[in-house]
Amino acid sequence: MKHLQLPKSLKVRVGLAGLGIFILLTIIGPWIAPYDPNYTGFAQNASPSWNHLLGTTIQGQDVLSQLLIGCRSTMVVSFIAGFLATIISIVIGVASGYVGGKADEGLSVLSNVFLAIPGLPLLIVLNSYLPAGQQTNPLVIGSVIALTGWAWGARVLRAQTLSLRDRDFVEAARIIGEKRVRIMFGEIGPNLLPILTSSLLFTILYAVGVYTTLAFLGLTNVSTWNWGTMLYWAQSNNAGLAGEWWWVGPPGIMIALIGTSLALINFGIDEFINPRLRAGGVSAKIRRASGAPRRPRLGLTPVLHKSTEAGSR
């Protein structure tokens, strides 16, 4: 793909790098984990040292190993949930926006109901009905989370489809005889891509939060390692009260970091959709060098008179 190039925005680069590291950990985490996370023979409650970079738990388990191995479960479930929820929201959102009429009313009611249902209690109920063997299956848990997380994306996609539906290029496609489904996914779909990506990233973020919450409450199988179960064990052993920051802190920081990476990528997508945020295509460095105002005024294309070294790009 000759059009694929590294994004110019620093935010996006940092976000992509962060997400890349997490994906890498997901793949290689279990191999680079120094110890078996279930092994309880180490010194108990040890603070970080060269042997145990993130210390040990009250049971004498290595925290770093738990963190690295727990990455996979968290990421896999969240990504499955994110993708499934996005697929549901595409089908429901685009169809309801494009078809309109009674179908739209029905589908809108459906997504409003799912928006209004408090997600977590529903998840807890659904989760408790899962057969015991299925509670560790990432696909099943991912689907359950997706079921509560698709409605927001569907609303956004419906709104955008509504605005695209009456554009001339859609009519032009109808004139040449395109079928309805083709118009929805072949003509309108690609125009939804930026919003779709942003919706996907937020849904993944939502899934990370929800999965961790479920695990923290002890509602998933607590013997599989993920950041939520780590927090569950830390909490049930009063790690916070005992001042064992190396046990409580890392899982929380990991969750915050993945959230930050996803949000940074989303900023980049915002700039891509709305080029005005990109300061009229002029980078901050060039703007400063040429003495142009820091914030471009809406509707005005910045004109830089002073030619500088940085300006000749």
Partner: protein
């Protein structure tokens, strides 16, 4: 492609009407009103001929084009394609699409912004069953037929990389991809720079002559109609008010609305001349009972407000829908029927 005889009627509309239901004053309990966007339109599109449809905004020209392309379905009336009546109850099918194509007004909006030009040209070919190994060659051929060379350079571009004139050529190319017999052009030059308008008009003319296409050219610009058209129809408030088999209508307009329309074209040789103005009809700009134009007409008769005028031949091949040109007999019949109606009403009272 089998050559069609020049002048043969390809697509004909008979008394085609389309009413839109709109909410009254927008209030919750307001009554729904029906608005006639197009009413009783009779059009015949002939091979190798360009029919210009002239009218102001809201006169129903664009709706007429959409009715003819069957993107919008008519409320009443019939369509005859190649001598066969089209079943308007069924969905528009590919066969109809391959015969009648529509070019939209805004070339920038009519192209999918995230798809390459090649996509927009290859889709119609694919849909209409051109074998895959021929598609690329056909796409090149179509682009060349609208004078966009070298074709490959355009196929790989995105719409925002091209100018309005180039895009409008591509829009025309897309419509031509399915080898239609009838081309409907909805104000194809109104969004373009003046400098490229003539190019598009000449392109339409040459397509019409070379491929024996029947073209309907919709415009509000009577000068361009005179330049390109073989026949002219003037629309006002959804009705056809004047038509001629040639462009004589533009030289000697008979309907008061057409006269005003032509008088409003700026003429550099008559600088300082007094501008003819139509009395604004106020709220009742459209009269729905009699002649639609009567509230704004400076020559309106008493009967114009209450009786719909007939289409009268005002010159050989030229017809105007106006009481001013109606014969005494025609006027008398209305007066009599009015009288008898009044008598009936008074009796009932």
């Amino acid at each position: 492609m089998s050559q069609v005889e020049t002048g043969k009627t390809l697509l004909e509309a008979k008394a085609l009407s389309r009413h839109f239901i709109v909410k009254g004053d927008g209030g919750f309990f307001s009554k729904r009103k029906s608005i006639a966007a197009v009413e009783g339109a009779d059009v015949a599109l002939r091979a190798g001929k360009i029919l210009a449809v002239v009218g102001e905004s809201g006169s129903g020209k664009s709706v007429l084009a959409r009715l003819l392309s069957r993107i919008v379905s008519p409320t009443s009336g019939e369509l005859v394609l190649n001598g066969e009546t089209v079943d308007l109850k069924t969905q528009r099918d590919l066969a109809y699409a391959s015969q009648v194509q529509l070019v939209l007004q805004d070339p920038f909006a009519a192209m999918n912004p995230v798809r390459r030009v090649g996509h927009s040209l290859e889709r119609p070919l694919l849909i209409h069953g051109v074998p895959e190994d021929e598609i690329s060659a056909r796409a090149h051929e179509i682009l060349e037929s609208v004078s966009l060379t070298p074709p490959q350079q355009f196929l790989d571009r995105y719409p925002h990389e091209l100018s309005g004139g180039q895009l409008q050529r591509i829009n025309i190319a897309r419509a031509l991809a399915v080898k239609p017999k009838v081309l409907l052009a909805d104000e194809p030059i109104s969004m373009l720079d003046v400098s490229v308008r003539l190019g598009i008009l000449n392109l339409l003319r040459s397509l019409c002559d070379d491929k024996n296409l029947a073209i309907m050219y919709i415009t509000h610009d009577i000068a361009s109609a005179r330049y390109i058209a073989d026949e002219v129809v003037v629309m006002y408030a959804g009705q056809m008010v004047e038509r001629s088999n040639d462009t004589s209508l533009i030289n000697s307009p008979q309907h008061p609305y057409t006269q005003l329309l032509i008088a409003s074209v700026p003429d550099p040789t008559k600088l300082g001349a007094e501008v003819v103005k139509a009395p604004s009809g106020g709220a009742a700009a459209f009269n729905l009972n009699g002649c639609r134009f009567s509230p704004r007409c400076s020559q309106a008769l008493a009967m114009c407000a209450t009786n719909e005028p007939p289409m009268v031949e005002v010159a050989p091949g030229q017809h105007a829908k106006c009481w001013l040109h109606a014969s005494d007999a025609q006027r008398a019949s209305v007066t009599i029927s009015n009288k008898s109606k009044n008598e009936m009403e008074s009796k009932n009272v």
